[in-house]
Amino acid sequence: MSTKNWPLWEVFVRSKNGLEHRHFGSLHAADAEMALENARDVYTRRNEGVSIWVVESKYITASNPEHNGEMFEPAQDKVYRHPTFYDLPDEVKHM
């Protein structure tokens, strides 16, 4: 095992045409090309995908869990933001 680690990459896979790419996990690779090949072998060997995106993890800006209060809690009691206050006619079956 080498002591110098390759940078970390995040892997996004689209499992079917028409669906969006979803985050599948992360892996190590020396550059983008290697990250794609590694992702192909690590995450799509059981026929999971038709398209892969990779992005070096350091380029992802993440929200800080410590700020979850101010970031997300204000939305919790605003149920009126969900479109659940409409009466749907019975004829509309799938909505």
Binding site: H28, A30, N38, R45
Partner: protein, 250 residues
């Protein structure tokens, strides 16, 4: 029994079996998790191809032969793989050099085998070709990375290429069974692949800043069942389960 066809199929399949076994040795021992899985994937691709060949060979042989008996119960001299594929995983450079030197041949070979008048062989070739295209892409990339990487990686991959170069010429040697199959329109005349092979190999090596070995001394023998000293150890490992527990199944 169609002896020549049987021998011909073994000549193709044994290359993939032995290379698959070599790659499989790295399972859990690769340089890192990602390359470990990649090598194991290639191993499984090759072993999958091998099953199709041996199932076909077992049908031709009859006498109660099965894909397992053909894969695991032959003696060393009855394996007809080229010497290249049995060479050990000395380091990751050797593993990738061996893979690359075989992949370029394998892809050229399967492309021609697709035209075989034997429909089973051409179907296996067509099915395998995408897998092998990826193998060549993977190993070529690594040749370039190692060759054009650090001083140490360049030295090591150059050493591996120099050492394995002596086994490349055998790929283009035709056995009697090969010649008979070429005449029947079933087999590939591998001698005709030689120029394209060295052209592709040289292009990648040049891009990788690896010197192309000038040695004109080549070793052969594997195609006739005469192997290097590494083969016996590999078979002992590979055949252990079937020898110790005959007919065992997973």
């Amino acid at each position: 029994m169609k002896h020549n066809l049987y021998r011909y199929i073994l000549g193709i399949a044994d290359n993939s079996l032995i290379l698959g076994q070599r790659l499989g040795e790295l399972c859990g021992h690769g340089p890192n998790l990602e390359t470990d899985i990649a090598c194991t994937n290639m191993s499984l691709d090759l072993l999958g191809q091998v099953r199709s060949y041996y199932q076909y060979a077992a049908k031709i042989k009859g006498e109660g032969a099965s894909e397992d008996s053909i894969a695991f119960l032959r003696k060393e001299r009855e394996y007809y793989n080229v010497l290249l594929v049995e060479q050990p995983n000395t380091d990751f450079g050797y593993t990738m050099a061996r893979q690359f030197l075989f992949d370029v041949y394998h892809l050229l070979f399967l492309t021609e085998l697709q035209k075989s008048s034997d429909l089973t062989l051409s179907a296996i070739a067509t099915k395998s070709i995408k897998e092998v295209s990826y193998h060549q892409r993977f190993s070529s990339d690594w040749i370039k990375r190692l060759g054009d990487g650090t001083e140490e990686s360049n030295t090591r991959i150059q050493t591996a290429i120099n050492d394995l170069w002596t086994y490349t010429d055998e790929l283009f040697y035709l056995t009697d069974a090969d010649k008979a199959m070429v005449e029947e329109g079933i087999g590939v005349d591998v001698a005709t692949l030689k120029d394209a092979y060295y052209k592709t190999v040289s292009e990648v090596l040049e891009e990788a800043r690896i010197e192309i070995p000038e040695s004109k001394y080549f070793q052969k023998g594997g195609k006739q069942g005469i192997h290097t000293e590494h083969m016996g150890y590999l078979l002992a490992d590979m055949q252990y389960m079937q020898r110790a527990y005959p007919n065992m199944e997973w």
